[in-house]
Symmetry: C2
Subunit: 199 residues, 2 copies
């Protein structure tokens, strides 16, 4: 009973992360009941996204004239400290912590089997080339800053192998109890790490 | 660190039903990483929605040349049986049941205080005017087909008052145990209704 255009919009919305087919239909119907300025604004915002480019160094999307993002073109940033993150949102969270002053490489979503995609291989290759301009062709430190889940461990191991010799230190994010955690309800793996990394 | 255009798109997405601010950011970032054809398709689908109109009789959105939707212009539909529903998705669910052959009036989201909005008053008024073309200026039956929640009961009572005399029968959807329900875990209200409406 719904017009094709609502079904088509719903089908396209259901390709977006976290939107299921039922919610997509609800959203498409909701939009069909809005005034045309609402729809124009949303479509306009979408089109503006097309004008963004990814940073040539870290792959964060940006609207700068130059090819590099604000972080990569900031002279106050440590250039020989690199954090490799999976997602742009991971980068944002680390920035928000204000505990990091180096630069980044965004890999994009990792595959569950731990293999790197050709695009991810390309990004790593480009990072390695960039590192050759540093003293001793080495970074001071590369932090493999992946969320500690089972499948990212394989990717992290692969990354460490690929980057061996390209940095004085290759590290991973510290493991242990998160702030506010209850020991009683913490899993064995977390407790094991919290004991190993006690300080 | 995110470009303004991503933040703006996220802000607009978070106005859509069921999308929170964090998910909106995730979706906007996701879109920023897609090829431009993906963005164009989505924006195009949105713009097509602007071409829809709501049915002049029941307010279901449609793409017909005429002012009425497929249901309202279907001669096989009973014209003197009207179901008043809150949401377009309610109409779709009733259609899917294939247990209803009458027509509809879509009210749009009801307010929690049970009051009808001016737009809803207008739709009811228009229905009443349409009913004057029927024999005795009356429908055979009007079904107040609202989901049985606390706040819709007030709206249903108000609708019944407004429509008194405009139909031979004014009914509501049957109440009782849903298929697959477990008596042990059913609430008192449902059980009371299932006893009252036993058959």
């Amino acid at each position: 009973m719904l017009p094709e255009s609502i079904k088509q919009l719903a089908a396209r919305l259901s390709n977006l992360p976290g939107i299921g087919p039922r919610q997509a239909i609800r959203i498409a119907i909701y939009i069909s009941q809005k005034e045309s300025s609402f729809i124009d604004d949303l479509a306009g915002s979408l089109q503006e996204i097309s004008n963004l480019k990814n940073c040539s160094d870290c792959f964060l999307p940006h609207a700068n004239q130059s090819s590099r993002c604000r972080i990569c073109s900031d002279p106050k940033r440590t250039t020989d400290l690199i954090a490799i993150v999976e997602k742009i949102t991971d980068l944002l969270s680390i920035e928000q912590s204000q505990a990091y002053s180096g630069r980044y490489l965004v890999l994009g979503d990792l595959k569950k089997d731990g293999e790197l995609t050709p695009e991810q291989e390309k990004r790593i290759g480009q990072l390695i080339t960039q590192l050759t301009s540093l003293p001793n062709s080495q970074a001071e430190e590369i932090i493999i800053a992946l969320s500690p889940t089972n499948h990212t461990q394989i990717s992290a191991d692969k990354l460490e192998q690929r980057l061996r010799g390209k940095a004085k230190k290759i590290t991973r994010l510290g493991r242990g109890l998160p702030t506010g955690a209850d020991i009683e309800f913490s899993d064995d793996e977390t407790l094991k790490n919290s004991l190993k990394n006690r300080s």
